[in-house]
């Protein structure tokens, strides 16, 4: 194709969107039947490059619409509107075990979407594309305020939606990797929920004293939300992933201080010493470390460490005492935690206790452990720094990319509905039906 006279047009709408918004990618005025590759390139904060691509054939009027036309090959295939984002993977030659996570949520992810001639699979960086545009993907909507919280010895960040409020509140907990991870909380604030991202493993107070936090640490975080003038004190929920679910369930069932309106547990379990805080939970997990398996690719599989589900009630949260709606999200290929087995046991406990109407379980075949906000790339395994050994090793999370990405999209949608219905509505907690989901 004559580059000088190339009139191919590439349009991506919206050019600036939230991370969980869909976009439309349109190629127009290509020659009829033209073979082309639509390519996405992202350079992350760590300096690594990620790419995804799909092979398309223009129709008789020279158009390719990624939301309607099938990709014939590449990092994704079939009709996949958001494939160029969820199938992003490190470019060839990258170091192994990478995971894409945004740490600075105040600036967007920039993705360059380009069109290349022909059906290509490599060497994109050595070629000049026919056209390219830049797309911004934001974890924070305009007007969301980011407020670092350091009082009461907490290491946390509060995200407030724009507007007068008052807003429902949410405590947001990540897992065993620690750090203060803000992106899910900022995204939830972009949906109208005042969200507090809390570091409870590598917080400043832990680094200084050398001791793990106790349960009061979480209650203090709850109080910060409850007493905030723009937060509706009786509409506070809690969301945890992985180790964060252990804390969430413990607080939801046993805390006298925290009156949670609802809770969400992603890829977690209810097995833990009922008495005891973070330190005891971690010790409990480590006692069966010898049950760790290694995959053929030398990745660590941890799911057996917490199995079998104990019958001893001193080692699992008494789910029968739960009084608020609970959404449990499980990946059936989770190689890190036995989330499926735990979900089944929780359901059984609640059925026996008569409060199973509070429980909703979303179980996704071929989804792994890291069920994140949608359209972010799937990491089947990645480098993980264990707090116990302080070593970095490659851990198997599980999941098959396309199915895992579909699970992320569906789970996020349902999570938002669950939170909105339970934190906003005027009905009594526990009566919200999710049967329409």
């Amino acid at each position: 194709m004559d580059r000088k006279r190339c009139t191919l047009k590439l349009l991506v709408q919206p050019s600036r969107g939230l991370v969980d918004e869909m976009f439309i990618i349109l190629v127009q005025k290509a020659p009829s039947g033209f073979q082309l590759t639509v390519h996405a390139l992202h350079k992350c904060e760590d300096g690594h490059s990620w790419e995804a691509f799909g092979h398309y054939t223009a129709d008789t009027i020279g158009t390719v619409n990624v939301s309607e036309d099938p990709s014939l090959g590449g990092t994704y295939s079939g009709v996949e509107q958001m494939g160029l984002l969820w199938s992003l993977r490190p470019v060839p030659g990258s170091k192994p075990g990478l995971r894409l996570r945004k740490m600075n949520v105040q600036i967007p992810m920039e993705v360059t979407i380009s069109v290349y001639q022909g059906h290509q699979t490599e060497g994109f960086m050595d070629q000049v594309p026919l056209a390219s545009v830049v797309v911004e993907r934001w974890y924070m909507a305009p007007g969301v305020s980011r407020i670092p919280i350091t009082e009461d010895g907490l290491t946390a960040t509060l995200f407030l939606p724009p507007g007068p409020g008052p807003f429902p509140g949410l405590l947001d907990l990540w897992g065993g990797g620690g750090q203060l991870v803000e992106y899910r909380a900022s995204l939830l604030a972009s949906h109208g929920i005042a969200s507090l991202a809390l570091d409870y493993l590598t917080a400043k107070i832990i680094m200084e004293t050398g001791k793990m936090v106790d349960l009061q640490y979480f209650e203090k975080a709850y109080k910060i939300l409850e007493q905030h003038p723009q937060v509706h004190g009786s509409s506070i929920g809690m969301l945890g992933l992985s180790l964060g679910t252990s804390i969430t369930l413990k607080m939801a069932v046993y805390s006298e201080v925290m009156k949670l309106r609802c809770a969400v547990c992603i890829s977690g379990c209810h097995m833990q010493p009922v008495d005891g805080s973070v330190e005891e939970i971690l010790k409990y997990f480590n006692q069966n470390a010898d049950r760790t398996r290694i995959s053929e690719e030398n990745e660590l599989i941890w799911r057996d460490v917490l199995l079998p589900v104990p019958s001893d009630l001193a080692f699992k949260v008494d789910m029968g005492r739960l009084k608020c709606p609970l959404l449990v999200v499980v990946g059936e290929d989770d190689q890190n935690w036995p989330a499926s087995e735990s979900a089944m046991d929780m359901e059984e406990m609640m059925e026996q206790a008569g409060n199973s109407h509070l429980l909703t379980v979303l179980s996704y075949p071929k989804a792994g452990h890291l069920i994140e906000p949608p359209y972010t790339p799937h990491a089947r395994a990645s480098l993980f720094k264990s707090l116990a050994t302080r070593e970095k090793m490659i851990v198997l999370w599980g999941g098959e990319t396309a199915a895992h990405s579909r699970a992320q999209e569906d789970a996020w949608r349902k999570l938002l509905v669950f939170l909105k219905e339970n934190l906003y509505s005027g009905s009594n907690p526990g009566t919200t039906s999710l049967s329409h989901l």
Partner: protein
């Protein structure tokens, strides 16, 4: 007896939910504003507030009533009052005006295009018409409106005496180019160029008043030719696809260069609200000062606004005072408002058509004339002002309140329609591979 304990003593929030899409968009993109979870049949006010770079506050508002589902959709429902009425999906932007108590004669223009315009869109209970700042809205969101798409590059140009800003679309190119010129207020106004680059055109916004050395008409003419060539010779520009775009005085310069230059051959021209009164051997300063020699034709209306349109009309009868439009040999689009109080755009367009038809190049001319539309035909959804403070650049005059003309609603409709036609004209003449044609 069973006592049921409620878990909470206060009911959870039931505030309405306001959603505005997109929250970050280009200034020429439409907004979808929807309010849900209102009580059915309740009166609400949708309000938009903008704090300008000059520190003034601008606002717009519409009065709505929620339907049986408790919903208001600005693109579907009627506003019953406020700064706009009827079914107006973009009324919250184009009907903005300075809040009560503001300075007079304000004009809203974005000077820093690297940051967005911020609008606070809020929902108030009831039909409110004033005192918005003293009340708390039910809910509000912040919306960003950008003149620059992501990936557009902004480059300061200071080359061969030409001062301006070049905007380059993302991607390898090569792209068609545009020389973008504003009017007699001078300065370096970048927003239209940034927006044009966001649509795929390498665009040079030019400041043509600052050079002290432009004392002769010849030097001045060369300045425009040089600027045109800077674009044409840029490695990412297709050399035979460079056009010119001007408003008001810029429009005049565009016609002048298109007609008289032997060096520069624009592929097409867009002239918004321009006249054709520009003799070959005069400088811009002389052109601006020309009507002042007829200051008895200056009218000052009942609001103390200066009306300039009549100061030019006598020039229509003097061929030596007009651009020789018969020599233009590229497609040219004239966009004018019938209520232009600054320049007799209507009469000029008629005269241009007559002259071009007589010369045999009338097939190159397209014209659009909008009723009740004034002089400042800007990119869509920007607020309309019938008059504003104006100080002519480069000449020793004082600031006056100039009457531009136009009625807000028709003028805003014209801006939206004109922009669509302009983009279509540019797409056809600068992007399409078929030979250029004048007709839209």
């Amino acid at each position: 007896m069973i006592v049921t304990l409620r878990l909470s003593t206060m009911s959870p929030p039931t505030s309405p939910i306001l959603s505005v899409q997109p929250t970050r968009g280009l200034v020429d993109e439409k907004l979808k504003v929807v309010v849900e979870s209102l009580p059915p049949g309740s009166p609400v006010t949708l309000h938009s507030l903008h704090h300008s770079e000059d520190e003034d506050y601008w606002e717009a508002f519409g009065h709505y009533v929620s339907d049986f589902r408790g919903m208001v959709s600005v693109s579907e429902d009627l506003s019953f009052g406020g700064t706009y009425t009827g079914k107006e999906d973009m009324g919250l932007l184009w009907s903005m005006r300075p809040v009560p108590g503001s300075r007079k004669g304000l004009r809203l223009r974005k000077m820093n295009v690297c940051s967005p315009m911020l609008h606070n869109i809020s929902v108030y209970s009831g039909h409110v018409s004033e005192g918005f700042r003293e009340q708390t809205p039910l809910t509000s969101v912040l919306v960003e409106r950008w003149y620059m798409a992501p990936g557009v590059k902004r480059i300061d140009i200071m080359e061969k005496g030409v001062r301006g800003t070049l905007f380059i679309p993302p991607g390898p190119g090569p792209f068609p180019g545009l020389l973008d010129m504003w009017g007699g207020g001078g300065g370096l106004i970048e927003y239209r160029s940034a927006l044009l680059a966001s649509h795929g055109y390498v665009s040079l916004a030019m400041d043509y008043f600052n050079s002290q050395e432009l004392e002769s008409a010849d030097l001045e003419f060369k300045y425009f030719e040089t600027a045109f060539n800077i674009i044409k010779e840029h490695p990412q520009v297709i050399p035979d696809r460079v056009g010119m775009f001007g408003l008001s005085l810029g429009s005049l310069v565009t016609m002048h260069v298109a007609a008289e230059s032997t060096i520069v051959k624009p592929r097409c021209c867009i002239c918004v609200s321009g006249s054709h009164f520009y003799p070959r051997d005069r400088t811009i300063k002389e052109v601006i000062m020309e009507p002042r020699s007829n200051s008895h034709r200056l009218r000052i209306d009942e609001n103390n606004h200066h009306v300039w349109r009549d100061m030019w009309i006598h020039l229509l009868d003097d061929p030596s005072k007009k651009v020789d439009v018969g020599k233009i040999n590229c497609p040219i689009l004239l966009v004018n408002g019938k209520d232009d109080q600054n320049v007799p755009a209507d009469e000029c367009a008629e005269d241009i058509a007559l002259l071009m038809n007589a010369a045999g190049n009338g097939h190159l001319l397209s014209r659009v004339l909008y009723p009740d539309t004034g002089h400042l035909i800007e990119p869509p959804y920007s607020p309309h002002f019938r008059a504003s403070n104006f100080k002519a650049a480069g000449v020793a005059t004082k600031t006056v309140m100039l009457l531009w003309g136009g009625q807000t609603k028709p003028h805003s409709d014209a801006q939206e329609d004109a922009w669509r036609k302009i983009l279509s004209f540019l797409q056809h003449n600068l992007y399409s591979s078929t030979p250029p044609r004048a007709k839209l």
